[in-house]
């Protein structure tokens, strides 16, 4: 393997490694715009020029591979002058609207200007800047400002090389060059949000995030996208300093690198799917049916009502009169607590998460899975199915009145069953509990509604389709009085005299790692930030 010397540091790297990547291994970050590790190299921005001993011209470090014995300098006066020159030219026609630009704070152009240039513009006002279209609407998700664009073509390459759709191109020549879609059609792919990530400047911005918050006010919490069974690694960005809100809330999901799961991408369905956390239909306080209406209650009263009714039915009709439908949207911790209490403690066997077609959709070729539940595999491994009666039979039994009490945890069963079926099923039951984060059709028939925390509001784990257990972390406080589902179950267990003893989500997970064979020996610490794939229990990974 070639050995190269970069700024007096020797490093051995595999053949064909670019100078830029070799430098990275020695801890030297060579500034660049057009280079992206997952796209073809185009050699266009000229920001990554370095000096190589005995080579008269500066070389672009992104495209030139190392040679054995090569001596590279990344900070000679010649290199610094070239960088400054490139920055001066990139900023020449740039609108300099950082104060109103969403990218400010995480903009490579801004960062590199501050690091390497800090020049005063030499543009004579009489010469003017080139002007190009602003606020170009690229469809429902993305807005383009071609004046901010530095024509690095990362977005073009993302569409053609990652998504496999030729949607974007560079039109016109010279300093009139601008990004656009063919025939001005809106972007259609399900990965557009990534365009705003790969764009090194503020040319492509997300409509969802535009003008909502300054990036430097955002707190970043590692988590997992709950949008499908892929389990893409994400960062939840939240802040309490933003327009209209003073509480810390979620402002966007960003992909987090995990080569084994999602590389560095995130689909739009996942990225823009967080809206339910603060949606108007969010359940914020427990409520109990009184006559024809629901009235707000505190947790003790609500759980007391549940305990009373469940015990009543359970004692009159036995455990087979109670059905529990936990959703595969719940975390491992939530699901395990459900099993420990309803199955192990109360002896209920009418528990099943596998409602056929629940949250199923179209699969794509990149990340999105047909199973839109983040934790079906976890539910399976934890034994939330096959305990006795299947989910669809539980529904049928409720319709027939054989099941008197139905306890639904998470999700919206009307999405798959349809409203008529839900009405038939629930209106006949003596007692219905809906525990979840958002109002849905089933809530209309509930006797008690218990508000649960959304994924961004709790700690826990999801197990993805290939049995990779990954950690979700609490980014914001649960809205209103909502609580994590495992905690609701724990409180209910106390109210019913079969107390579970969990205080934190981690307590539940530690018990899982002791009691459930697939999870043996795991801990939150061992999961790290990339998760752990369970041996011998996953489907084969398919990228």
């Amino acid at each position: 393997m070639p050995v190269v010397t970069i700024d007096n540091q020797e490093v051995e790297v595999p053949e064909k490694t670019s100078i830029l990547n070799a430098a990275k291994q020695t801890g030297i970050e060579i500034p660049h715009f057009c280079y992206h590790p997952l796209f073809s190299v185009v050699d266009a921005c000229r920001m990554c020029l370095v000096e190589v001993k005995d080579v008269p011209k500066l070389l672009t470090s992104c495209s030139n591979p190392v040679r054995d014995g090569m001596v590279v300098y990344t900070d000679t006066p010649k290199v610094l002058e070239a960088r400054k020159g490139v920055l001066e030219l990139l900023l020449l026609n740039h609108p300099m609207d950082c104060p109103v630009c969403d990218k400010a704070g995480e903009c490579k152009l801004q960062d590199n200007y501050f690091k390497f240039s800090l020049h005063t513009s030499r543009l004579n006002p009489m010469d003017g800047k080139t002007h190009k279209p602003k606020v170009v609407d690229l469809g429902p998700k993305i807005v383009l400002d071609t004046e901010r664009c530095i024509v690095c073509t990362r977005c073009v390459r993302f569409c053609s090389e990652v998504v496999g759709k030729e949607e974007l191109g560079i039109f016109n020549r010279g300093d009139r060059s601008q990004v656009g879609t063919y025939n001005n059609r809106p972007l259609e792919n399900n990965y557009q949000g990534n365009l705003t990530d790969v764009c090194p400047v503020g040319a492509l911005t997300s409509k969802d995030f535009r003008f909502k918050a300054r990036t430097w006010f955002l707190s970043k919490t590692d988590s997992i996208c709950p949008g499908c069974s892929r389990g893409c690694n994400v960062q939840i960005h939240s802040t309490d300093r933003s327009i209209g809100k003073t509480r810390r809330r979620v402002y966007r999901l960003m992909p987090r690198q995990n080569e084994d799961v999602n590389k560095i991408w995130l689909c739009d369905e996942g990225r823009y799917g967080y809206g339910f956390i603060d949606a108007f239909d969010r359940l914020e306080r427990p409520s109990v049916r009184e006559g024809d209406g629901m009235s707000m209650a505190d947790w003790d009263a609500a759980l007391g009502a549940v305990a009373h009714e469940l015990r009543n039915i359970y004692e009159r009709h036995g455990p087979s009169s109670v059905g529990v439908l936990p959703s595969p949207q719940l975390s491992n911790e939530d699901l395990y607590a459900v099993k420990r209490f309803f199955h192990d403690a109360l002896g209920i066997t009418n528990i099943d998460f596998k409602l056929p077609g629940w949250n199923e959709g179209e699969k794509d070729d990149l990340l999105l899975m047909a199973d839109r539940n983040p934790n079906s595999k976890g539910a399976e491994l934890l034994g939330l199915s096959g305990l006795g009666v299947k989910a669809e039979e539980i529904i049928e039994k409720a319709v027939k009145g054989e099941i008197k009490a139905l306890y639904i945890i998470g999700g919206d069963i009307a999405k798959t069953l349809g409203e008529d079926k839900v009405r038939d099923c629930l209106s006949g039951a003596e007692f219905v509990v809906y525990q979840g984060s958002n109002f849905n059709y089933a809530c209309r028939f509930a006797h008690v509604i218990l508000p649960s925390a959304a994924f961004a509001e709790k700690d826990g784990t999801f197990t993805n389709f290939e049995a990779r257990v990954q950690k979700i972390n609490k980014a914001v406080e649960p809205l209103g009085e909502s609580l994590p589902d495992w905690e609701i179950t724990t409180r209910l267990s106390r109210a019913m005299g079969h107390p579970l003893h969990y205080v934190r989500a981690e307590d539940v997970f530690n018990e899982i790692s002791r009691e459930v064979s697939n999870f043996y020996g795991l801990s939150y610490r061992k999961l790290g930030d990339k998760g752990v794939r369970l041996e011998g229990s996953g489907e084969k990974a398919s990228a």
């Binding site: 190299v41 185009v42 050699d43 266009a44 921005c45 000229r46 920001m47 020029l49 008269p56 011209k57 500066l58 672009t60 495209s63 070239a82 020159g85 490139v86 001066e88 030219l89 990139l90 020449l92 026609n93 030499r122 543009l123 004579n124 009489m126 010469d127 003017g128 080139t130 530095i150 024509v151 191109g169 560079i170 016109n172 020549r173 010279g174 300093d175 009139r176 060059s177």
Partner: protein, 417 residues
């Protein structure tokens, strides 16, 4: 001297009949029946023929870079995207003697074992395109193209591709992109076209004039061709296109290394209206300008490089004493800003900025410091662009301003000429 131009004056020179009467396609017959491909390459190396497109790379050497055992198809692409301002030497070759270009191309393909050739012609050259297409049809009919050429096992197809009007497509990798149906923008190098060229296959890219010289080299030998060059220079004959303030602008076929002075004053008849010479661009608009007292130079690659300019395409642009250098530079800068493809930063932004500054100076709103700004922008571009277009733009910028600084400063002070 009439070697490449020998058929120009003949009636219907572009037809197969006239071309064959003048000895046409005999070189091809000789190459295929008497010579091994390696011998042809050797002969071309001996001829000291250097690429006539402008870069002057030795033609035989270029051919030798093509991998012999490539699993991918190999291609010849004849660069007929003659776009360098001041250059008009390939056009008469294609219009008056298309068969010479075709014969040279066939021999090249035989020498390098290529079975598909493209001629990428500048879109505006409608007549060249028509003549080449007609000539190719004739060549197919005469079995000089197609399968089993002249009864041998060698076969070749040849296609004329009409460009869409971009200067950058004369740059070889920009040309390849355009040929493949993509936007004409240069590729990064390496890989060089000899390894990864058209449609990912190894590709020879040669200029029209280079191709037209090949049959003569085959017929008369490499040494003969080399000796056609000026004494001590060699490298054969060259077509010089001379334009501007001379009495007889046109294309002149002369020994490589003829002095610039001789070309201007003897062949082109001197300066129009007996005016004094002020400046000459010796090798197309990208070549740094020469002052009147620098014209004793020999017009060949090395002699011009020695005085920091270049032979380029051999296009001589003559400017007399009345020429406004500010306006001349403005015209050139606007050209490069217009033609910059926009792929790499220094050229995309730098050419436009220089054009705006020089336009402002020309309007009478310049400042002395603008001159240093242009030189500094040139420095930012110098050696740091993806392709030679940026370099081409700063050639005139730096040379005009440094060699005629007094005139520029006076213009700025007065606000006009």
């Amino acid at each position: 001297m009439a070697i490449l131009t020998k058929n120009f004056e003949k009636k219907s020179s572009y037809t197969m009949g006239v071309y064959e009467q003048g000895g046409g396609y005999k070189a091809l017959k000789k190459a295929i029946s008497e010579m091994k491909p390696g011998q042809i390459v050797e002969e071309v190396m001996k001829s000291n023929l250097r690429g006539r497109g402008g870069a002057g790379f030795p033609t035989g050497k270029k051919w030798s870079f093509i991998p012999k055992d490539s699993p991918k198809p190999k291609y010849l692409t004849v660069n007929a995207d003659e776009g360098e301002p001041g250059t008009f030497k390939d056009r008469p070759l294609m219009e008056q003697d298309p068969h010479a270009v075709i014969e040279g191309s066939i021999i090249t393909c035989y020498a390098v074992d290529i079975h598909t050739a493209f001629i990428y012609v500048r879109g505006e050259y409608a007549k060249s395109i028509q003549r080449l297409r007609d000539a190719i049809n004739e060549a197919y009919a005469s079995k000089y193209l197609g399968e089993n050429i002249l009864g041998s096992s060698f076969g070749l197809d040849m296609v004329v591709h009409r460009g869409a009007g971009a200067y950058i497509c004369g740059e070889e990798t920009g040309l390849l992109e355009s040929l493949e149906g993509k936007k004409g923008q240069p590729r990064m190098k390496p890989p060089f076209p000899a390894i990864v060229g058209a449609f990912q296959g190894p590709t020879v890219i040669n200029n029209v004039e280079t191709m037209a010289a090949i049959p003569h080299i085959i017929t008369n030998g490499g040494e003969w061709f080399n000796n056609l060059g000026a004494p001590g220079v060699g490298g054969g004959v060259k077509l010089y296109s001379i334009s501007g303030h001379v009495k007889r602008p046109g294309v002149y076929e002369l020994p490589m290394g003829t002095t610039l002075k001789e070309i201007i004053y003897e062949h082109a008849g001197g300066i129009r209206g007996e005016k004094k010479l002020k400046a000459v661009i010796p090798g197309g608009s990208s070549a740094p300008v020469l002052t009147a007292d620098e014209i004793d130079v020999k017009m060949d690659f090395d002699s011009l490089a020695a005085i920091k300019t270049m032979l380029g395409s051999g296009a001589i642009i003559v400017m007399d004493e009345d020429t406004c250098m500010v306006k001349a530079l403005k015209v050139l800068m606007k050209f490069y800003a217009h033609e910059s493809c926009g792929k790499c930063t220094p050229c995309r932004e730098g050419t436009g900025w220089m054009a705006r500054i020089i336009s402002r100076i020309h309007r009478g709103e310049g400042e002395i410091s603008d001159l240093d700004t242009i030189l500094s922008i040139s420095n930012t571009i110098n050696g740091k662009t993806l392709c030679p277009l940026g370099q081409a733009a700063i050639g005139p910028a730096i040379s005009f301003i440094t060699k005629f600084r007094g005139e520029f400063e006076n213009y700025i002070r007065r606000g006009s000429n």
